[in-house]
Each structure stands twice: as structure tokens, then as C-alpha cells.
Symmetry: C2
Subunit: 202 residues, 2 copies
């Protein structure tokens, strides 16, 4: 005997497929929606259905954009410095950097990192269009802002190889102690990086 009616089980299963949502959270969400007004499920369903059909990728930087907008707002913004390109793994990283209000250049979204284990090679990422962008334009600096992980570092090294012949300045985001962090709890690698990257107090 099925313990739950099929429509309820279906939604639990659909929630469970999402990353970070386990069986318990999936049933809690489902039973929450069962009790909530109909609009709650409807709003979510409509947002889901529009997600893919109404969005696309920017033709220049491959950030997410509206489907009817070939170029994203950042790329279309004349007041941002075309000379500096910040290369990130995912669209979410653009968001994180934009929230700092500390970067006025343009972005380039790779949509992943090199990962031989998962079979992701350079041709699966937006690397060729980046090289084209640097070749064709007035780019003076490429900031490689892939994650400070194994794959992120490997991807950064690969990008450096590809971009060095083009004669642009290539930089990588600084590593060290996180602001508000505690030296005592920092891991060895972070501490080593903080030491080797130490800066003059001026």
C-alpha cells in the first residue's frame, strides 16, 4: 500500500532531485505547500516554467540574460571599462562580485571549470570566445576569478597559457585570510598563501 497519494509523492520526488534537498526537507516542503494557499505552488510552478523559456545567454560574456536581449546589461553598459575582463565560473559569481560594487570592468562566464574526472575539457567551456574577445578588443587585463579550488586553479593555469601570447596582463584574485577570520582556525594552505602574499603596510 502506498503511504502517500501519488501527487504528493511526485512532488516529494521532484524536490528530492534538487541539490541540497534531502528526503526530510522534500516532504516538509511538500506538506507546507499542501497547507499553504494555492497561489504559493502556482507562483513557484510558473516561475519554473518561465525560467528556461524566458532566459538566454549574453552573446558577449555568456552571463544569463533575458531571451529577447542578445547582450546583457553589463556588456551593454558603456560606462563600464571594456579593458578589464573578469573571468568567472558561473553566473552566480558575477552576482557575488557585483554585490561588492568594487569592479567596474566586464565579465566572462566560463560555465564550469576544467575537470578531467567529470569529462569537462576546454571545448566544453566558453574559453575560445574569451580568447577571441581578448584578441579582437582593447582588453588590457584579464582577472581570473575562478574558485580557489583544484579545478579552479587548473582552469586558471590553462587560461594563462592561452592568454599569455596575446600580451595582456593576467591576474588572479588574491588569497589569504578571509576578513573577520581567525588565524588560529585558518587551514595550512590559506595561511601559507597569506604569508607568501603578504603586503607592505604603507
Amino acid at each position: 500500500m502506498a503511504l502517500l497519494p501519488e501527487p504528493v509523492q511526485n512532488l516529494i520526488t521532484a524536490f528530492e532531485r534538487l541539490p541540497g534537498i534531502g528526503p526530510k526537507s522534500a516532504s516538509r516542503l511538500t506538506f507546507y505547500l499542501l497547507r499553504a494557499p494555492d497561489e504559493a505552488s502556482q507562483l513557484l510552478a510558473e516561475a519554473l516554467l518561465h525560467l528556461k523559456s524566458a532566459t538566454g545567454q549574453c552573446q558577449v560574456c555568456f552571463n544569463i540574460t533575458l531571451a529577447n536581449q542578445p547582450v546583457c546589461e553589463i556588456c551593454a553598459n558603456d560606462r563600464r571599462d571594456e579593458g578589464v575582463i573578469c573571468v568567472v565560473e558561473e553566473p552566480l559569481d558575477v552576482l557575488a562580485l557585483e554585490r561588492t560594487s568594487g569592479f567596474y570592468g566586464k565579465y566572462h562566464v566560463l560555465h564550469g571549470v576544467l575537470s578531467p574526472i567529470e569529462g569537462v575539457g576546454p571545448e566544453d567551456l566558453k574559453i575560445a570566445p574569451l580568447v577571441e574577445r581578448v584578441k579582437s578588443g582593447r582588453v588590457t587585463e584579464v582577472i581570473i576569478a575562478t574558485n580557489p579550488s583544484m579545478e579552479g586553479d587548473a582552469t586558471a593555469l590553462y587560461l594563462r597559457q592561452q592568454l599569455t601570447p596575446l600580451g595582456v596582463r593576467i591576474t588572479r584574485l588574491a588569497r589569504g585570510l578571509p576578513v573577520g577570520g581567525d588565524l588560529e582556525y585558518a587551514d595550512q594552505n590559506t595561511l601559507l598563501r597569506a604569508l607568501s602574499g603578504r603586503q607592505e603596510m604603507t
Copy 2:
């Protein structure tokens, strides 16, 4: 300037409204779905749209059931003891008890607990139909399985008042140390309950 295209922001907002999903999880889920095949969002959307339209409440116990099924499978099951009713707060509690395979009676789902702070009174819960059920039937015992919380206890007390005149046995789920728990880490109240509810070793 909006940092994210509207369809993306809409889905993040819709996810954020769900309990236990904060802004970070909401964007992670949204960007996961952006990268995932279209079916992932579609499956979830369809499950959401069917949730309410395809389900209803059992006319007897108020558990969740299919829309075209007036009585749930447990209530319709002749081999389950009609004489014992286990009263729970939510349909999820039925599921938890069914998983134990240790209860062969029927259920009654209150759909909430008494909570003066949130303005939930007896008339907002399925208490009147429970009294009717006990009055009309061959019920010999009512097990009150509301949560061992303030509201759950208050609701249990109220139910006892309502049911005592009907001359049925009224029981409450045992409280004490959880199986696999550690005496050292048990809170004072649980330990007090475990002491006062101690049982003969036979």
C-alpha cells in the same frame, strides 16, 4: 540596474518563500535548474500544479488522499482496528507512525495545534469531527500523539477534556530518553519524564 534577469529573480523569490530555504539556497537551486535539462524544472512545475488539484482530505480522518477518493486507504482498510484512533497534528505524522509498522488502528489528523498566539482555536482544528467519530463509533481508545511541545500538550489536555465524558480510554505517547540517546546530553525535562515514567524490568 537589476543584477539578474526577471525570470531568474522570480524563481529565486518563489523558492525563498518556502520554509527553510534562505536567499543563498534559493539562488543555488535556481542556477542549478538553469544549467539542468529543461525536464528538471518542468517535472517540478507539473508536480506543483497537480499537488492541490489532485489531492483532497479523507472525510473520516482528514489525512491527505486523492481528489477522487473520499476516504483514505487507511480508513478504507477493514483489517485495521477501528477501535483505536491515533490523533496527530499533521499528515506527515501519520507517515512517521506508519513507518514504524507498530500501529494497526486508525488515525485522525487535526491539521494543526491550539495556539492562542497564532490565533488557532479549537474550531480551526478537526476536533469536532473527532468527538463525533468517538461518539458514534466503537472506539475504545484514543491515543493522543500531538507533539511533545507546549502547544501539543495544551491540545492534548483540551482533547482529554472533550473526550473524557465519552468514556473512552485516553492515552498519550510515552516520553523519555530517545533510543540511541545519551543520558548525559538529555535535557532536564526529558530526564524528569524518563524518571517519572520509569517501568518495571520484567
